[in-house]
C-alpha cells in the first residue's frame, strides 16, 4: 500500500504536508510525539478523513481495512464478546455454522488477550486496560488486509503489555500492519520498519 504527496489542513493548521510512504507486508511503526498528525494519517488511510490532496493506492484494488481507534468506541452496554463479534459479517438469519465459527474465534482472541474470565462482562464494567484489549480483539477478528493500530497499548499495565505485543506480532504475519505509537520501547519490541516523525512532512 502506498500514499503519495498527502496534504491535510484543518483551518490554518497544516497537519500533513507532502507525505509519501509505502507500507509492505509486516509491521510498520509510525512513531512520534502527540499532535503530529499520526492519527489523521491513519484516518486518511482508513478513508474516514479525505486528504486535501494526494493519492492512496492499493495494489490489486481496494483492500479491507481494520482499525483500532485511539478511543475505545465500544458498545458500553454490551459484553466483551458481543463487542468483538459486532464487526463480523454474520448474517441476520441462519448462518448458524458461520456464527459459531465467529464465536469460537472471538473467544479464542479474548482468551489470548487474557480476558477469558471477563468475556461476558459488559464493557462498562471493564477497566481501561481491559477495554483496550477488547478493542484489539475487535480489530483482529475483522476480515482485513490492512490493520491500523492507533496507540494499541495505551493504558495497559506492564504485566500484560508484553504478551499483548506478542499477540499483535503473531497476528501481523502475512498482513500489512501500521502501528501508531509515541513510545520507542513499543516500536522496538514490535520490530519491523520504523518511521519516526517529529512532524509529518
Amino acid at each position: 500500500m502506498e500514499i503519495k504527496n498527502i496534504y491535510k489542513s484543518f483551518g490554518d493548521n497544516k497537519v500533513l504536508e507532502n507525505i509519501s510512504m509505502r507500507f509492505d507486508e509486516g509491521i510498520t511503526c509510525i512513531m512520534g510525539p502527540s499532535g503530529r498528525g499520526k492519527t489523521t494519517l491513519a484516518y486518511i488511510i482508513a478513508r474516514l478523513v479525505a486528504p486535501d490532496s494526494g493519492e492512496i493506492s492499493f495494489p490489486g484494488g481496494q483492500k479491507k481495512i481494520s482499525l483500532m481507534f485511539q478511543e475505545d468506541r465500544l458498545l458500553e452496554w454490551e459484553n466483551a464478546i458481543s463487542n468483538v463479534l459486532f464487526v463480523t459479517k454474520s448474517p441476520i438469519l441462519g448462518g448458524v455454522r458461520k456464527k459459531r465459527e465467529y464465536l469460537e474465534r472471538g473467544k479464542e482472541l479474548l482468551t489470548q488477550a487474557g480476558l477469558a474470565d471477563s468475556m461476558y462482562k459488559k464493557a462498562a464494567e471493564l477497566s481501561g486496560g481491559m477495554k483496550r484489549r477488547v478493542c484489539l480483539c475487535r480489530a483482529l477478528i475483522a476480515d482485513y488486509d490492512l490493520l491500523i493500530l492507533d496507540e494499541p497499548f495505551k493504558g495497559l499495565d506492564s504485566g500484560i503489555k508484553p504478551s499483548i505485543m506478542d499477540m499483535v506480532k503473531s497476528h501481523a504475519a502475512g498482513k500489512t500492519v501500521i502501528c501508531i505509537t509515541h513510545d520507542p520501547a513499543e516500536a522496538e519490541f514490535l520490530g519491523g520498519e520504523l518511521v519516526a516523525v517529529n512532524r509529518l512532512e
Binding site: R73, W77, E78, S82, F86, V87, I92
Partner: protein, 252 residues
Amino acid sequence: MKISSSFHKSLKAIPIILFWLLVWEAANFFIESNLIIVSPRETFARLFALAQTADFWRSIGTSMGRIMYGFGLALGAGIIIAAVSARFKLFHQLMLPAINAINAIPIASFTILALMAMQARNLPVFVAFVTVLPIVFYNTHKGIVSTDPLLLEMADVFNVPPWKRIFYIYFKTVAPYVLSAANVGIGFAWKSGIAAELIGIVRGTIGANLHTARIFLQTADLFAWTIAIVLLSYLMEKLFMLVFNRRGVKWK
C-alpha cells in the same frame, strides 16, 4: 427488597390520600348541593354499583381498545417518521411544520374537524393518534440524532450491516427516549381519547357515559366515572412500565 420498598411507599401514601378524602368530604359538607359535589362515600358506592353492570365493563373495553389502537398507531408512525427524518434532511424539513402544527392545534378543534370527516366511532382512535404522534416523533428524533457519532464511524470502518447498526447502536440509544415518550403519551392518549368520545358522543364508551351523567345531572355517576378513568389511566401507565420499562432498564 423491592416489594418491601414499594410496600413502604404505599403505606406512606395512605395518610396523604386520607387527607384529600377529608378535604373532599369537607367540601361536600360545606357546599351541601348534591348537584355540584357528592361525598367520597356516595362516589365509591356508585362506582361499586356501576362495576357490577356489564355495560360498565363493556364501555371500558370499547374505550380502552380504541384509544390504545390510536396510541399504538402513533407510536409506530412516530418512530418511522422520526427515523426517516433523521436520515433525510429534506423529509425532516417537510415533516417538522406538520408535526408542529398537529402539536399546536387544540384537541377540541381536531375533534370537531374530525367529526365532520369520519364516523364517530373512529374519533377516539384519531384523536389519541394526533395527540401522541408529536410526543413520540420529538423524542425519537432527539434519541436518533443524539446517537454517538464515534460509534457510527466505527461501524462505517468495519462495514457493519444496517441491521446490526439498528439493533446494537440505534435501538439501545433510542429505546429510553421512545419509552419515555410512550410513558407520557399513554396518559395523554387516555385523556384526549375520552374527551373526544365526550365531544363526539361516541356510543357505548366512557365519554358517552360521562355525557349522559351530565345531561341527567347524575353527579354521583360523573364522579364515579371520573374515578374510574383516573384509576384506569394509572393502571395502564403502571402496566406499561411493568412490561416495557424493565426491558428499558436492561437495555441501558
